[in-house]
Symmetry: C2
Subunit: 192 residues, 2 copies
């Protein structure tokens, strides 16, 4: 269950066997089925989730009733509402399983304690946040400077398998366009 997590951690930090054991005690294991929610709008996000298997999404619904997908989290990724999780504020996101998923969960408090007891992990989580910032920057630039078609192609390149695993209207909600527009963009691309 922890293999994938420790494998990831080992790319930035080496943990001793005792540290790994200690680390494990701060997580709880959890399974969510397809269409089940890990977080609902209005609730406070208590748990940071590491996806061992399966696929989740974080999304929000705006005033006009339109869904916007913030993040897809396939296996090997972390997911939460950072605003709610770090600042203990009620969330405006929903986090939902798109496929049955196995998760490792940790609370903010447990994490602070874990980092105090296994300081080597500070580095891993700092690097994780760095990667997160980098990814968000790239998405922001993409949303500012790329055409709809370019954004779609970029997403295809970044997560090739996502197209098979996720309905198209969710890809559209991620890109910030309507399903109709996405459909037309795809038709256009097929003609080449």
């Amino acid at each position: 269950m922890f293999d994938l997590l420790f494998q990831q951690i080992s790319t930035t930090t080496n943990l001793t066997a005792t540290e790994k054991e200690r680390c494990q005690t701060y997580f709880t294991q959890h399974t969510v089925r397809k269409r089940q929610f890990l977080l609902q709008p209005g609730d406070t996000c208590q748990q940071l989730a590491f996806v061992v298997t399966g696929l989740l999404r974080a999304y929000t619904i705006d005033d006009k009733g339109t869904e916007h997908i913030i993040q897809f989290a396939p296996e090997g990724n972390w997911i939460s509402d950072p605003n709610s999780f770090f600042l203990h504020e009620p969330s405006r996101y929903a986090i939902e399983a798109l496929e049955e998923a196995q998760l490792l969960l940790i609370t903010n408090e447990a994490m602070e304690e874990m980092l105090a007891r296994v300081p080597a992990l500070e580095r891993y989580f700092r690097k994780l946040l760095q990667k997160n910032v980098i990814a968000l920057h790239q998405r922001l630039i993409s949303s500012l400077s790329q055409s709809t078609e370019e954004k779609y192609q970029a997403l295809r390149r970044q997560f090739p398998d996502l197209m098979q695993r996720v309905p198209q209207h969710m890809i559209a909600a991620y890109l910030g366009i309507t399903p109709e527009t996405l459909s037309r963009v795809r038709r256009q691309l097929l003609r080449d």
Copy 2:
């Protein structure tokens, strides 16, 4: 010179006098004049900058020649290209002073060393990254779900003084619209 920085740090972490002294040795002081560049596209971002006074912006120019502003950094803020700074890759950003600015600079290596010698700072920088992630999330949601007018009003609320300090076409480049559109939105708002 370090007052503003230590004041910020003190909101998350308490440093002893010796720790503060030690910390200071890792930074270099630097002044940039208006229109001077701290980073040019193609260079690798070696320095993370803390703005003591003045105002900077990070921006990029896309294939069509359009400017996109990633970030404004008034006094009390950090600025860099995270992708280039953390991963040592050539940057696609430019960082430019919009007003003469006093800066504290630190390299990636100096920072890793500083964090090793003053571990209390790990927490500050982790929190800083957290805030960064939160802010980027909010900007992303804003860019996905808000109308042009709403985005403009939100920016006004977030940085009221920015409107006085920055030419309008840069506000437009930050919001992802043309100066013409921004001008029309403003006219519309004045009519109410």
